[in-house]
Subunit: 312 residues, 2 copies
């Protein structure tokens, strides 16, 4: 047992951390969850969880899918840092470096949405579709774009949740919840925005409430922009807000209305129900071996995909 | 002379066609320009221009950079067609096929903005920057995104000029000029939109006219969306509207205001004057040998880059 080959994985979310150790597909050895408080406290808990596996020589690499915004440029002095986040205490937190120095193992590091996007493209709803887009509409809104099998990272990590979209203050006087941009897409349509606007969580707003027409319009506007800019072959909508399944047909119809026949693609015009879809992995998360086989685990978030490289 | 190795190139624009034959860098043998009327008449003129070079065996390939929207999927039955365009007579025009059948040579076909984007990335302002974005703000608005040296084409060709952006009808009651989307980015900020809104061409609107604040806001909103979605390492703004050079500093400042420190990139925060730039090729066009050396020609449009493959 002491010599069994194990992989470590962390879903570093803005609300909670999930840490696990696994030996293979469907074989979780141990899993732990705790609230995301301060970086010091939270990362220390993660380190404590992995420490004995590391000292036993069982874990040589830990994969981390982290909330953002992040610096994901490997040559940057702040590679693996969270940059300017509304989440208190976490701006400029050195997540990757702290784990690396404390545990002295290789840390495979990417954003939570990029890991989910990769997972969906390998085993999920966007398998065989390249380029593809994974969007999570939850507490925040983030997107991962897979091109040639890899998450797109250019000058900086994608932050497509913060795009500017039309907002009629007549129909929706809410000023937006984003501390950086007010009424950007995330500021208008995220779970936090819904709660701040209406005083209740989106989960309990009835299906026929007029609010959903606004929400659908914001989501469809953003999707139209992504379609015209990124041209994905599949769009996956995950996250808490999209667990309200009645939103899917409404969003699809509104996207078609907005595009208004400008793009003549059969995929869009005739098969949009197969084009804008829920995550194929559902609520199953995927601590995976990035270069080899996946290690499938159960979890409560569709967006948990943890890079686990082979121990070297 | 009859055996000299020549290349053919067409800038198929919505206003005019430019056809040329060249033997090498700065060696234009012949060039002709004519108005874009109906597909029949316009393509016939292009064919007539090239015919004698083709029959003499001097031209085996013609590169075409064409206005859109286009079907650019090589496996599609309508590959090389213009799809749904506001330009009368040109919806469903088979530009590539007509040229190919009439001249029986290889046609290298891409959009006008993709050719310009490639040219800028090889010899122009975005050389060494990958991914990069070339945006033309002229009669219409279109963008080409270069990733790994090639124009991004996914499900369909990018049509990022038609994204939805905020539009305050209080500040700007203009309903937008896009026949498909009304007040999309192109419908609000293109040269046609300016002229339709104000009754005069943008070229004669004074620099201190209050209108430009609106225009700057629209352009900056779109750029913010592209930055957060595509993360280019360089953004080139070409086209007639951007020949009003005073717009550049205003657009840069507004982009920084809108981003509001959310992305912490030195390139953006400290060097935005080198990040959002005019075309490096200026008004010089580039009929080029796609796989070998460029053939530089003079022209009056910065966006003319013609693919000219080696005769095979």
């Amino acid at each position: 047992m002491a010599k069994e080959k194990l992989y470590g994985g962390i879903e570093a979310g803005g609300t909670k951390f999930v840490c696990c150790v696994a030996s293979g597909p469907s074989h979780i050895i141990e899993e732990v969850r705790f609230a995301t408080t301060t970086p010091d406290e939270t990362l220390k808990k993660a380190v404590q969880f992995f420490e004995r596996y590391v000292s036993a020589g069982q874990i040589k690499t830990i994969g981390v899918g982290c909330f953002g915004p992040l610096d994901l440029s490997p040559h940057s002095a702040t590679y693996g840092f969270i940059t300017a986040t509304p989440k208190p205490h976490w701006s400029n937190a050195d997540v990757r470096g702290t784990l690396q120095r404390s545990l002295n193992v290789k840390i495979a590091f990417d954003s939570d949405v990029n890991t989910a996007a990769v997972g969906e493209s390998i085993w999920g709803a966007s398998r065989g579709c390249d380029p593809s887009l994974y969007l999570t509409i939850g507490t925040g809104i983030g997107g991962g774009y897979i091109k040639d099998g890899k998450p797109l990272i250019g000058l900086l990590n994608l932050e497509m949740g913060h795009i500017r979209i039309p907002h009629s203050r007549e129909l929706d006087p809410f000023e937006g919840s984003c501390p950086f941009h007010g009424d950007c897409f995330e500021g208008l349509a995220s779970g936090s925005a819904i709660e701040k606007r209406l005083g209740v969580r989106g989960t309990i707003i009835p299906e026929h409430d007029a609010f959903w027409e606004l929400e659908v319009d914001y989501i469809a506007s953003a999707l139209m922009n992504y379609i015209l800019t990124l041209s994905p072959k599949k769009i996956i909508l995950g996250g808490g807000v999209m667990q309200r399944e009645f939103l899917f047909p409404k969003v699809r119809n509104r996207v078609l209305e907005l595009l208004n026949g400008y793009v003549s693609s059969k995929t869009l015009l005739e098969h949009i129900d197969e084009y804008i879809v829920p995550p194929g992995l559902g609520n199953q998360s995927l601590p995976c071996n990035w270069k080899n086989q996946p290690t499938t685990l159960d979890s409560d978030r569709e967006s948990l995909l943890i890079y686990i490289f082979p121990a070297t």
